[in-house]
């Protein structure tokens, strides 16, 4: 699978983009790009995928992108254009030139085990943001704690401590103090009576 094909796959599969028919027709003009995609119902991105091959002429490429954006301006389109440059390395001047008129993602051709991941990160700006799982939903400290505490330590004291924990350190400390004081109270009182 080529990088450009992977780009299309990710955008369509994860971003809800649809592939525009080739050649791309804007107004009365036709443009030849490797691929062209349009965002779904949430955004108005127009993504063009350009493969940089051995015979790609950078001047022609720049002219083609400028013409496209000019055509969109003429039609008063508010589409924002993103150019994804795949395969070969993009010349810095080329990126510079076209980034004046559109967003440029010079992804090249990532290789290795996490090639897909790298590509997805390049494209992530075009993909929807997922609301992170609310922290609260997987925090059940009390349940976790009860599961962690050994059985012989569970009991009235632990229940009281867990109940007081949200009130802060002092409340817990006091509960501990109460428990210890309660244990020794009888012995001390006995002693006081003896002394009297």
């Amino acid at each position: 699978m080529t990088t450009s094909e992977r780009v299309v796959e990710i955008l369509v599969g994860e971003g809800g983009y649809r592939v525009l028919p080739k050649p791309l027709k804007v107004g009365s003009l036709f443009f030849e790009f490797t691929d062209a995609l349009m965002a779904g119902d949430r955004a108005k991105d127009l993504v063009i995928v350009i493969e940089l091959k051995g015979d790609t002429a950078d001047d022609a490429l720049i002219r083609k992108v400028l013409t496209l954006t000019r055509a969109l301006d003429v039609l008063q389109s508010k589409r924002s254009v993103t150019a994804v440059l795949t395969s070969g390395q993009a010349m810095p001047e080329t990126v510079q030139s076209i980034s004046r008129v559109c967003r440029v993602l010079p992804v090249g051709s990532p290789t290795g085990t996490n090639a897909v991941e790298v590509l997805r990160e390049w494209l992530s700006v075009l993909l929807p943001l997922s609301q992170p799982v609310a922290v609260e939903t997987f925090i059940d400290w009390e349940g976790d704690l009860r599961r962690t505490v050994p059985a012989n330590a569970a009991g009235r004291l632990m229940d009281e401590l867990l109940k007081l924990a949200p009130e802060g350190k002092l409340a817990v400390e006091e509960a501990l103090a109460r428990s210890i004081a309660g244990s020794i109270k009888a012995a001390l009182e006995e002693n006081d009576e003896e002394d009297e």
Binding site: A71, S77, R103, L129
Partner: protein, 816 residues
């Protein structure tokens, strides 16, 4: 229900916004633009004030900023904010602030909890952005870093912290003591009970041993005691009965008393016997008689010859001094006294005679002095009477006049002196003054001499009466002269008699010495005849024999004493043995008593000990449970932290960061606490895309990407917490991002607005960026909305807001 939106913000005379501006906010995205100094930051600050009542990033330095809210040259201002609906049921939809240089009257829309949430999580002021990484990487040793604080709040780990920290004392007995004030007392009670048991057991052992030993001694002593029935003691013996038995047998006491009084009688008889003088032999007695007679004769001869002469001489002296002793008082003593008296009297008489002669001489001299002084004074008086004028006064008066003399005219009488003399007046006066002065000197010396003479006269007259003392009358003079001669001669005679007197004294002593033993012998004969019957009686009662059957009286007394002494010794031994036995018996009884009391004490202590030990066990159980709970809490806490960081926060942050900086090889991340001590202390670091950890963000990222890291950190934190309000306010967040980042940022903003349904308010200062964002964020679908506001100033310098609302327009380039 749709989430409430910020709707309208009305600002008057607030900081750089002079005059009144109305800013509509009721859109999904609001872009605020103004070049530097126009007041776009003021708009966001006004929004914060209306929502929270303070400017959080300024309030950390105190409330001083409140005095600088009013625009220069205005009396005061106000901020009013409305929302499209209440955030929570029963809360308002408006917040406001009235202020002037002296007034600050906020009525914020949000309560304090929500206000803090807004300030921390929804509003990113420009000042905070640049400090954000710093804030979150702040690793102070003793305080909780803001990041740690955030993590704790976010995760709701406070209860676990409370458990871990609150149960900490359970691990250490010292802390238990500090925590529970009675615990120390409890511990010392436990120790003291233990000590008491040990002490009691020791005492029982000691008492048992000593009672056993005492029993052996006691039985040994009892066996020695003379008694009708043999007595002994064992564990079954009634000690009190035995004691009474011993107490009643008292005849040995009486016997000892009788023997002691007999001994003292014997002693007194022996004493008297010994005091009798030793008897002389008959031969000695005759000798003594003879010697007595011989000495008496010699003395008689002396008395007739030398004694008579001495007596005569003594008589002469006694005629003047009647107390001079006689020859019988000791011839030598009386002679010596008489001689001393005679010589002393002779000296006295001579002295008196001499004194009288000296006094007569002195009187004669004084009388001469008186006569001469009187004559000289009379003479001087005559000399001084001739010149009674005070010449000295006249001389000084003339000297005063001398300075007034000019020429020959007398300054006193005004007559011309040249008529009287050829000598000049001034020299005449000078000579006169000289004469007068010398005359005054002579008169002065005469007066001095007269004073001396009269002084001499008065001294002599004063001494005269006393000088006559010591003079003798002629009668006395004659008598003293005679006596002096008499006494001198008596003294010489007595001196010559000295050897005779010594002989007499020796003779007298010899006679006395010879007489003495004769008298003593006669007295002893009388005494011994009276004491012998008594000795006989005493000796018979102690030896059974008559004193006369012994070799001598002394032998008889010695044997009696020896018998008596041995009887007394026996009696004393018995008495002391009995006393020893009684006291031993008493000690034995005490030993038994103390063993019993220690044993009963030990039983009581054991009961108390059981209670204390069970309490101690309870405490141990309690501490043990507490420790296990604390351990579990620490484990759970670190598990939760790891889970949250790995599954949530780092993931979101990374996602956001790579969107804005897709080509950056290092991604910032929170490093997790590695230690198992459970403390949550997150630190910042970067991870290479390959997963290898690298240095801190400050060291690894470019300035632009650091800014990106900070911005995405803020957004990640914003997204990680449960949403309390759907607002996100960013003040110029893209200051130093390059163009690529800005394009990505625009996409991110749109994602947040559309995907996360946040109402976004962004202030930007760069015109191009403002236009670009306006384009990027303009509505793409029906229902989307965007408001852009430009803040400028009119000619008067008042702030002007130009809002533009963009609505959806169908895209003609592509069919939807």
């Amino acid at each position: 229900m749709m989430a409430p939106r910020l709707k309208t913000l009305v600002i008057e005379n607030f900081r750089s916004l002079r005059g009144k501006v109305v800013i509509p906010l009721d859109a999904q995205v609001v872009l605020v633009h103004g070049s530097n100094g126009m007041g776009k930051t003021s708009v966001l600050s006004a929004l914060e004030l209306a929502l929270t009542g303070k400017i959080a990033h300024l309030a950390t330095d105190g409330d001083g900023y409140r005095g600088y809210l009013t625009s220069l040259g205005t009396a005061g201002g106000s901020i009013d904010l409305t929302t499209s609906g209440p955030l929570k049921p029963d809360t308002g939809i408006a917040g406001s602030l009235r202020f002037s240089d002296s007034e600050f009257n906020p009525k914020p829309l949000l309560d304090s909890g929500d206000a803090k949430f807004f300030s921390d999580r929804c509003y990113l002021p420009q000042a905070t952005l640049s400090r954000l990484l710093e804030i979150y990487d702040d690793q102070k040793t003793n305080t909780t870093s803001p990041l740690t604080q955030f993590v704790k709040e976010l995760l709701g780990l406070d209860p676990l912290d409370a458990l871990v920290d609150g149960l900490f004392p359970a691990y250490n007995v010292t802390r238990v003591r500090n925590l529970v004030s009675e615990y120390r007392r409890f511990e010392s009670l436990r120790t003291s009970l233990r000590d008491e048991t040990v002490r009691n057991n020791q005492s029982i052992t000691n008492a048992t041993r000593s009672s056993t030993e005492r029993l052996a001694t006691l039985n040994a002593r009892l066996a020695q005691l003379p008694s009708a029935a043999p007595m002994f003691v064992n564990a079954a013996t009634n000690v009190e009965d035995l004691r009474q038995q011993l107490e009643t047998a008292r005849q040995d006491d009486r016997m000892l008393t009788d023997l002691t009084s007999a001994a003292s009688e014997l002693r007194s008889v022996a004493e008297r016997w010994r005091s009798l003088p030793v008897e002389d032999t008959t031969h000695d007695r005759a000798n003594m008689e003879r010697r007595e007679q011989a000495t008496a004769r010699a003395l008689g001869a002396w008395r007739a010859d030398a004694g008579a002469q001495l007596d005569q001489a003594l008589a002469i002296v006694r005629s003047v001094f009647s107390d001079v002793p006689s020859i019988d008082d000791g011839p030598e003593e009386s002679r010596a006294i008489a001689q001393r008296r005679a010589e002393a009297e002779a000296r006295r008489c001579t002295t008196l005679i001499n004194n009288s002669a000296a006094a007569a001489e002195r009187v004669k001299a004084l009388e001469a002095t008186i006569q001469r002084a009187s004559a000289r004074i009379a003479e001087l008086n005559t000399a001084l009477a001739a010149r009674v004028v005070d010449v000295r006064t006249l001389a000084s008066a003339l000297a005063g006049v001398a300075s007034h003399i000019a020429g020959e005219n007398c300054p006193v009488c005004d007559r011309d002196f040249s008529e009287a003399s050829a000598e000049p007046l001034s020299s005449h006066i000078a000579a006169k003054i000289a004469n007068l002065t010398s005359e005054a000197g002579r008169l002065q010396s005469l007066a001095n001499e007269r004073a001396e003479e009269s002084n001499r006269l008065s001294v002599a007259q004063r001494d005269l009466p006393s000088a006559g003392g010591g003079q003798l009358s002629p009668e006395d003079m004659a008598e003293l002269t005679v006596r002096a001669a008499q006494m001198t001669s008596a003294g010489q005679r007595l001196n010559a008699l000295a050897p005779a007197a010594a002989t007499g004294a020796a003779l007298m002593a010899e006679a006395t010495a010879a007489r003495e033993p004769v008298i003593l012998a006669r007295r002893r004969d009388e005494q011994s005849s009276s004491i012998l019957p008594e000795i006989d009686r005493v000796v018979t009662s102690h030896t059974g024999r008559l004193a006369s059957t012994f070799d001598s009286i002394d032998d008889a007394l010695l044997v009696s004493k020896r018998n008596l002494d041995s009887q007394i010794a026996t009696a004393e031994r018995t008495v002391s043995l009995r006393i020893t036995v009684l006291s031993e018996l008493e000690l034995y009884a005490k030993d038994l008593e103390s063993i019993r009391s220690f044993e009963s004490e030990n039983e009581k202590v054991a009961v108390r000990m059981a209670i204390v030990e069970s309490a101690a066990k309870q405490v141990d159980t309690c501490r043990d449970s507490a420790k296990k709970v604390a351990d579990a809490a620490a484990t759970v806490r670190s598990d939760i932290v790891k889970t949250v960081f790995n599954t949530s926060l780092n993931k979101v942050w990374r996602d956001l960061f790579v969107r804005l900086a897709p080509s950056e090889q290092f991604v910032p991340t929170f490093k997790l606490p590695t230690g198992e001590d459970g403390k949550v202390e997150a630190v910042l670091e970067t991870l290479h895309r390959s997963g290898k950890s690298a240095g801190s963000p400050g060291a690894m990222l470019s300035q632009g990407n650091l800014n990106t890291a900070a911005l995405t950190l803020f957004l990640a934190l914003h997204l990680s917490v449960p949403t309390r309000m759907p607002w996100l306010v960013l003040d110029d967040p893209v200051q130093s991002m390059d163009d690529v980042h800005i394009a990505q940022f625009a996409a991110l903003l749109r994602t947040l607005s559309k995907g996360m349904e946040r109402q976004i308010v962004v202030a930007v200062h760069e015109r191009a960026l403002f236009d670009y964002l306006t384009l990027e964020l303009s509505p793409a679908f029906p229902g989307d909305s965007l408001i852009s506001v430009e803040i400028t100033r009119n000619f008067e310098g008042d702030a002007v807001a130009n809002p533009v609302a963009y609505s959806y327009q169908e895209d003609r380039a592509f069919a939807a």
